[in-house]
Symmetry: C2
Subunit: 486 residues, 2 copies
């Protein structure tokens, strides 16, 4: 992509993700109502520019003067958040044009996605007026722009999360909301996001094109239900995936799903096979649900730094810390094989070391390695993990640690000691670690250990299957990147 | 199966699952060591018959006299738990024969599953001696029998769970342990279980044959890595599945998995396709991991009672309580369609009712039903759910309630009120309910609501995909049963 076009793109989206000033149209005195919540959420995000609440009745909100309409605002307005009934939208559009705002985001719904003709007609008028008025439309029927640095919350109850490098584009506000919530739970940190709803002016592909060149965005997640221009989307996903990992969830893949998508955003879906081919040929990562979307984003965020990135695709698996290693080794093997991971043999040297550390009788010293015969002795677990990490065939270590079962045998301090061994090993050498902490009876303790690991940039998954799929996405993407020289 | 054979079977396994007296060989003064833990766990299970600790040094353990060997025990001994080094096993076998015990369970490992020739030889001798001595062997290399009513713990740290009707047979002690732990977490209640390890005398199929006729067992879960006699296993699974739901997880399906299985239990695995065909033709439910195994057992346990069992296979889905219904509806649709669930259209009458309750603009009133426009008003949610349950096309209601997202908008009391609506609806009409409570930022609250639902016999799943797969197993099994007239 030529430099100028990149600059143009960044320029065009500047008022949306980094507005200098914001107006919120549709606030009320009641701070629990959605417009006022939105206004408060912008303050809580630490937005530092001029901020204007708007309501025909005027008054005060949280110490701010409420303006009766956009025209009456004294300063410039870059970005407008609109939460008013659809019937009041035409008048708002005239005001926006007169005021010379740069972008208007409509939380307001009831347009082409609803089944009445009036809504569809209103939507058409909206696009025309925006074109004439010289401003861009975000939405309609969406949560709009989210920008941690730009001071824009993800929705009326959105909170300022820790600043990160993952950005997302979603046709469903709810999916984005769940993603940000999972981010908080799992240590996934966002830079920006966009819920584009009906995408009547700026559409999904437009935002994706921007995120592809945005220097703050290192990883992209995308949720689409359909698109008006498949060729353009394919081209943009390809461009984006050449620059950074792009994880794409195309929903409405099935007949029932496509019918639901028509009711939701009015999207016409291409066939699932067409989408799947498009995503794969573009070099993006295809996922089918919120779990796999968050898993893929998590592993790219946690492991993509140069010091962590695996040099090859040889995976070693360690399990059996108090959880009866045999069956776990067998089932972990199946999960890895199903995901087509490369689980190489350990060298003779490593196996000899493991015999010294773990002992021979009752042990499985192939890969996966069953460390149950260490009696969960932390020193021996550390030595075994170190021996495996030192193996030249191994590029990444996958560890299963079942906290619920472990705590049947040992106090929490031992679980934490073992957890810290993996954090320490991750920090003291360059090969990445991935942990599986399956849920069970001790969720509070499990969450605590997961958060410790997340802070150390070790991605945690709730099952071997999910870890294996995420690892496959990760190694496959980087193999492709190195083979195409991108 | 003829009546006499059933009686014989029940008789044969009586001393294993309902022993009148138990000896634990290999206790020590240190109650933290495994033999002593086992002894203590039997006491904690409430075993009421004579109980004898055995150790050559004699002494006392928890107030019980420790006998130097089996022969010196004054009364009869039905069941012996053995936790001693493998080299001491031959002498123990002579004692067991002399004492006339009925069954000996070997926790002791280091036989054919280890790679040394001595272990394999020892195992052969063990089988011969047991035959000559007239007692049965449980194991070797396993956690043995678990019986909530019979007073046998599942392993040395096994605890008495709530008595239930689910029983399991597993070639891996660790898989059984995780299953019992998930039982505690998810409200899955066991009757009995067996970890058979190398199965050198009584093998997996033998236990399965017993559980098939055991009147206390209503649902069977099975984990196998391989078997010596595939034809016999196929025959027994078929018989068992005709009598009750049998969920089978065959691990070691892949090359890497099969190699791990050889190291674990010395199992030779048939090809995965052969196993899969065997399981399906037998009318059993095939699963591939611990999550799906526990999911399937859970749904059969929760819904199989006559008052809950669905009459048809029409599933309705409700979502969108604060979690932005549109995307959730689309992705739930895909998940249900992937599992090949029947998601029928709602009748015109139901849709008209829903328009009255939820309103038209912004709502998705097809199936899945998006109730986001109720503003999570509990009365309207109840009315909408009731309207859907009243629909003649609907046999089961699947509800997604995302607690983490919900609690961004509402206090916990509202979440609990909504939760109680579903419990109330479940109790006041005959169609079953299934809930999806995805994990996120509020695990403590989520666990609390999940436990409330579990107590009301509403099965809870962490994702729409897992719920849909479990429902499919359930409806498919009962359709098959009614079509074959079993």
């Amino acid at each position: 992509m030529p430099k100028t076009s990149q600059q143009d793109l960044l320029q065009r989206f500047q008022p949306i993700f980094y507005p200098k000033s914001i107006a919120v149209v549709g606030v009320s005195q009641n701070t629990l109502k959605v417009g006022s919540s939105w206004f408060k959420a912008i303050i809580d995000m630490g937005f530092t520019g001029p901020l204007y609440p708007v309501n025909p009745h005027g008054g005060k909100l949280l110490g701010y003067r409420v303006y009766p309409n956009l025209r009456s605002i004294p300063g410039d307005v870059d970005y407008v958040v609109v939460s008013i009934p659809r019937d009041n939208v035409p008048a708002l559009l005239d005001d926006a044009a007169a005021k010379g705002v740069k972008a208007v985001h409509f939380f307001t719904a009831g347009f082409s996605e609803s089944s009445d003709a009036y809504g569809a007609e209103l939507e058409k008028k909206l696009v025309e007026k925006a074109r004439q008025g010289g401003f861009r439309v975000v939405g309609v029927n969406c949560l709009g722009a989210y920008s941690v640095e730009g001071g824009l919350p993800y929705g009326p109850v959105g909170r300022k999360g820790k600043l990160g490098s993952v950005s997302f584009v979603t046709q469903s506000g709810g999916i984005g909301e769940k993603l940000t919530e999972l981010g908080t739970a799992r240590g996934l940190y966002f830079n920006k996001g966009i819920s584009f709803g009906n995408g009547i002016d700026l559409d999904g592909p437009d935002y994706l094109e921007y995120l592809a060149v945005d220097p703050k965005t290192e990883i992209i997640g995308a949720y689409f239900e359909g698109t008006r221009n498949g060729d353009r989307l394919a081209e943009i996903i390809t461009k984006a995936a050449r620059a950074k990992p792009v994880v794409v969830w195309k929903a409405g893949r099935t007949d029932i799903g496509a019918a639901a998508a028509r009711s939701h955003t009015g999207s016409l879906a291409a066939s699932p096979a067409v989408w799947s081919t498009l995503i794969k040929q573009a070099g993006a990562i295809e996922v089918h649900n919120i779990e796999d979307l968050s898993d893929a984003l998590l592993i790219f965020q946690m492991l993509q730094r140069p010091q962590n990135k695996p040099q090859g695709n040889g995976i070693a698996v360690i399990g059996g810390m108090a959880d009866g290693g045999g069956g776990i080794s067998v089932s972990a093997s199946d999960a890895c094989a199903d995901a087509r991971l490369n689980i190489p043999q350990l060298t003779k040297e490593t196996r000899d070391k493991l015999i010294d550390i773990i002992g021979h009788v009752g042990s499985i010293l192939r890969n996966p390695v069953d460390v149950s015969q260490t009696g969960s002795n932390p020193d021996r677990i550390r030595q075994a993990a170190q021996a495996v990490l030192d193996d030249p065939n191994i590029d990444l270590l996958l560890v299963q640690q079942d906290i619920g079962v472990f705590l049947r045998y040992f106090p929490f301090e031992v679980a934490r000691t073992v957890n810290n061994i993996f954090i320490d090993l991750k920090n003291k050498q360059h090969k990445p670690l991935v942990l599986v902490l399956p849920p069970g009876t001790h969720e509070a303790e499990r969450v605590q250990l997961e958060q410790d690991l997340a802070r150390a940039y070790i991605p945690v998954f709730p099952s071997m299957e999910r870890a294996a799929r995420a690892i496959k996405s990760f190694t496959q993407y980087w193999q492709r990147r190195s083979s195409t020289g991108d």
